[in-house]
Subunit: 204 residues, 2 copies
DNA sequence: CACAAAAACAGAATTGACTCAATTTTAGAA
DNA sequence: TTCTAAAATTGAGTCAATTCTGTTTTTGTG
């Protein structure tokens, strides 16, 4: 049915993403012109728009890879958490944060976040929301796990707590990427300090 | 030194803001062309850029008015809070949320938030961060007040708690403006549910 | 009042994301 | 192999934000 066509398609996708990722890193998101990405990927401008609805969606594809990797790494912690509420949370959120600048620069994160609020109904906007939700779910899953292990009180509203923890971390992360000079270590310390209040409240 | 010039300047500022606010409401932020704003305000495009660095800064001036009004309204609650931690928080955050759509549509909020993360160092970006900080400070002030009134445990880390509460509310608000169909009442209910966990933990 | 410097204005030109009609390539049937 | 419809590509054209440069207005001084 579609040998050659499918192969070419996958290949063009890959070339576009690779060219874009390189340019976003080098020239920044704004600095990377579609025309340049197209030239680098050896396709025309029109073709890029055949593959992605807009410039933001190209960034979106890169962000998705990053976040999915993080979600994967988090699964291990949920399955086998440290035997202490504070450490368990710190380990999971630590994974999220430490991975965050692996593929994406702060500027790329800023753009990605901006686009997801600016165009919440675009493919990327929806994907980003779904990723946020997946992270929230994972934190909730950790809490449920800790409840099962008898480390967290059973009468705690797990879903609400999971959302609270994610929202706080996410907002702190947003502030973190907004300040170019902010360091990961400081971010983790600040989040730990906030979570301490919660940990004291929910521990058995 | 500058009678006429200053008066004309103030007048042009006002005309630009009024024209922009009207157009943002009617046509949306994206739909409002600078050219149209200029025509409506009876100045040239170049003049608008003499007053504001970019389109986002015009929106920024409008957002600032809104948030300052909210901060003012909040002062009363901090000075004289309901005699119950849950109600006190709910009243203060309720003021923020209920005022939020007074001058600004959801679309305008989305744009404002997007710009503030996209360009954190632009005049508006910095102003927006300052406004966020002011709101956080006000929540912290409420907590300190409640501690003074003996309603919140003295050994609670007030600054961290204030930031936690603000971050969670803010993130919920972001999700709220991203979903056009979301209702204020639901937002408040969801935030109340999350804060209940905290209230239980910090009450005397 | 006249005038030079400073400040502000105007609008044409530039720039870069995105669109669209025409052309080329692929798939599959005869 | 040849042909046709469908799918994909192309790049010139459009549109709106922003910049730039020459002109006009205001100010303060002699």
């Amino acid at each position: 049915m579609s040998g050659l066509r499918a192969r070419q398609k996958a290949d063009r996708h890959r070339r576009i993403i690779e060219a874009a990722a390189a340019l976003f890193r080098d020239a920044g998101y704004e600095g990377a012109k579609i025309e340049t990405i197209a030239a680098q990927a050896e396709v025309s401008v029109g073709t890029i728009y055949n593959y992605y609805q807009n410039k933001g969606d190209i960034l979106g594809a890169i962000v998705s890879m990053e976040v999915n990797e993080v979600l994967n790494a988090g699964r291990g912690v949920v399955a086998n958490p440290p035997a202490n509420v504070g450490d368990a949370l710190d380990t999971l959120l630590g994974i999220y944060i430490e991975h965050s600048l692996h593929y994406l620069s702060k500027e790329m994160w800023r753009q990605a976040m901006a686009i997801s609020t600016q165009l919440p109904d675009s493919p990327f906007g929806q994907a980003y929301t779904a990723l946020d939700r997946a992270l929230t779910e994972q934190i909730r899953a950790l809490i449920v796990r800790l409840q099962a292990l008898g480390l967290v009180r059973r009468d705690i509203d797990g879903p609400a707590l999971g959302e609270l923890i994610f929202n706080n971390m996410n907002m702190m992360f947003i502030e973190f990427v907004k300040r170019e000079e902010a360091r990961i270590a400081e971010l983790r310390t600040a989040i730990r300090r906030q979570n301490r209040i919660l940990v004291a409240a929910i521990g058995v």
